[in-house]
């Protein structure tokens, strides 16, 4: 493998930076971690072969600055850049700048990033690939256009920003009278948040499950899927608990989802790890394309545990030009995996982020319990970035055992100094809707009233 990638600039922070450094070291690839001033002494910086301070703590002058990332990579002799997730991971500008400077971008091509980054374009590509999309519109420019769609599709509707994604910039409309004002507000917000006011409209699925399919392509035309994940447990459109496989899915639906995801990836010649997201309508059993994420996902470990395949190493291998070393029939799915995202948030205070110094950090151990984290005792959780502290991922032969293992591990997780969602996650994973796999994207909102945070007592 060491052929074409010798040294990687890791353009990210937190647990994913640690994860990428581990993957590189196993492949014999050196790592340079780009750090902001706030992350100089982070675990990732200690584990990497070298850390380079690229700017002040705030991301626009550090982790979000294409020029600094590329300059740092070139100046430290890197031949590739791994962007992780978030930050610049889906930035066509970074992918293009890498190419211009002779660096390998560990991800798909700039054109693929663009095609899927524009959600209207992504919808069109999905339809062309024969992947069902939600009834809705291309770009809507006027309230009249939106009203016409509403008549055709019915209510409720969801208004989305074409440059959005990941749950950002969405508004649900239940009353046609609200439509004009919602469009005005949404366009202004989209312009402010993404620099692009373009909106589109889709049918809103009330009783929905979020299921996504992991795909992996190389530069030689091969595409395989690594099965699906269920990520229905969300709070304000942010995933909280994910699992693989998706429980209780009829076999033909599962197969159809996998086939649809592979068709879409093939349609664009996709050449990295990616995720095709779907909404499943619990009432009708239908599924529809939502969007494609053209990067490694936060929740990739659940797929790793049920397939045994290291997705970050696969990203590096295909970026180095290697063909996939396995075909679809070589992918063996076994057992069940659940991931819980542990964040520094205060459940009793509407999940406001907490920051501060972690005085005690005692993650659970034992086989089949994996903790992906950048935290160590004494770590100062900075205020500048998202509040993810760790991902607790458990594996077991059956889903029931995996749930038991997750709860046991959560209860053994010792964290002091900052307040976290560990207790909330234990509550969630113990919900009857989760046990009987009837959860929807609204389960958390519905169940929240029954949660009695220990910290509120």
């Amino acid at each position: 493998m060491s052929g074409s990638i010798r040294r990687v600039l890791v353009a990210n922070r937190g647990e994913i930076a640690v994860r990428i450094v581990h993957a590189c070291r196993e492949l014999g690839i050196e790592t340079v971690l780009a750090v902001s001033e706030a992350d100089r002494d982070s675990l990732g910086a200690r584990l990497a072969d070298r850390a380079v301070c690229i700017g002040p703590p705030r991301a626009p002058q550090s982790y979000l600055d294409v020029a600094r990332i590329v300059t740092a990579a070139v100046a430290t002799g890197c031949d590739a850049v791994h962007p992780g997730y978030g930050f610049l991971s889906e930035s066509p500008a970074l992918a293009r700048a890498c190419t211009e400077h002779g660096l390998t971008f560990v991800g798909p091509t700039a054109a693929q990033l663009e095609a899927m980054g524009d959600k209207i374009s992504a919808r069109r590509l999905a339809r062309e690939a024969g992947v069902p999309t939600l009834p809705g519109s291309e770009q809507v420019r006027t309230p009249q256009e939106a009203l016409a769609v509403a008549r055709e599709v019915g209510l409720p509707l969801i208004v989305k920003a074409s440059a959005g994604g990941g749950g950002r910039g969405m508004k649900v409309v239940s009353d046609v009278a609200e439509l004009p004002s919602v469009l005005t507000t949404a366009a202004a917000e989209a312009a402010a948040a993404f620099g692009d006011p373009t909106l589109y409209v889709e049918r809103f699925v009330r009783n929905a499950r979020h299921v996504e399919v992991q795909v992996l392509g190389d530069r030689h035309g091969h595409v395989v899927h690594l099965g699906e994940r269920d990520c229905s447990l969300q709070r304000r459109n942010q995933k909280v608990v994910e699992e693989a496989p998706a429980p209780g899915l009829p076999l033909q639906v599962r197969d159809a989802l996998h086939a649809a995801a592979v068709r879409l990836a093939r349609r664009i010649g996709y050449e990295s790890a990616g995720t095709v997201e779907f909404v499943l309508d619990r009432d009708t059993g239908e599924f529809f394309f939502l969007e494609m994420n053209t990067r490694i996902q936060v929740e990739h470990p659940v797929t790793e545990l049920v397939t045994g395949i290291d997705l970050v190493q696969q990203q590096l291998r295909v970026a180095a030009g290697e063909p996939l070393a396995f075909g679809q029939c070589d992918v063996v799915h076994r057992g069940h995996a659940i991931e819980c995202r542990i964040t520094a948030e205060v459940p009793s205070a509407d999940f406001r982020p907490d920051a501060g110094r972690i005085t005690a950090w005692d993650p659970p151990g034992g086989p089949n319990v994996r903790v992906d984290t950048h935290c160590v005792p004494g770590y100062l959780v900075p205020v500048y970035y998202d509040s993810l502290l760790a991902k607790l991922i458990v594996y077991a032969p059956t889903r029931a055992e995996a749930i038991a293992r997750a709860r046991s591990a959560l209860r053994r997780f010792g964290i002091e100094g900052v307040r976290t969602t560990v207790g909330f996650l234990d509550f969630l994973v113990g919900r009857p809707e989760f046990a009987d796999a009837t959860m929807t994207t609204h389960t958390i909102a519905d169940a929240l009233g029954e949660f009695a945070p220990a910290d509120a007592a």
């Binding site: 001033e37 072969d49 070298r50 690229i54 020029a67 300059t71 100046a75």
Partner: protein, 199 residues
């Protein structure tokens, strides 16, 4: 080590003794060491300095000038297991070391000199990560040389990030006493570029 009658700084001997204590603690694997003797009080440790009130020594302020205090950051470089990748570009660890020392120095009440910062000198640091240019153009003379007098607004260097050039102003009035990086070196954010004597 300290004489209540005549306020003074740390003598060489004091430093030698404290150094031995630090080394002994460092070898030991413990987190901190406190020594108090009369008005003498020494604290060495890892992580945050002891909580004021909880442990004897107040970390800052409130202490009369006569009380020398040293807080030694135990593990700046040691914790980075392997800094040896360093390619052609100069690794600018100096930035982080200096920052650490300054932080420690600022804790020491009444201390005249802290860490790597010489008395009466001010550091000019990189306002951005990038390539350091000592001259406006190749072949031209450098912006400044050691011994030059600079004003706050004097441009002392350029730092380039992908064809964007950031000019670096001295930010202080004084005499350049050291230029710490070579022309076209890669510098990290916050790296020390030069030192200016303000005396």
């Amino acid at each position: 080590m300290s004489d209540p009658g005549t306020a003074r700084g740390l003598t060489d001997e004091d430093v030698d003794q404290v150094t031995r204590l630090v080394e002994s603690l460092d070898r030991s694997g413990f987190d901190f060491l406190q020594v108090e003797l009369g008005d003498l009080r020494i604290t060495v440790g890892t992580g945050e300095p002891p909580v004021p009130g909880a442990a004897p020594p107040p970390p800052a302020a409130a202490t009369p000038a006569a009380v020398p205090q040293a807080v030694a950051p135990a593990r700046n470089a040691a914790d980075r297991p392997d800094t040896a990748v360093a390619p052609s570009a100069a690794p600018v660890a100096a930035g982080s070391v200096a920052a650490g020392s300054v932080a420690a120095g600022s804790v020491a009440a009444g201390s005249v000199a802290a860490g790597s910062v010489a008395a009466g000198s001010v550091e000019i640091t990189a306002p951005t990560m990038g390539i350091f240019y000592a001259r406006p153009e190749p072949g031209k003379p450098p912006f400044v040389a050691v011994g030059d007098v600079v004003e706050e607004t004097t441009t002392v260097a350029l730092v380039e990030v992908m064809k964007t050039f950031h000019s670096v102003a001295a930010g202080v009035r004084g005499t350049v006493v050291e230029i710490c990086v070579s022309d076209t070196d890669f510098v990290e954010f916050g790296a020390v570029l030069m030192r200016v004597s303000t005396e």
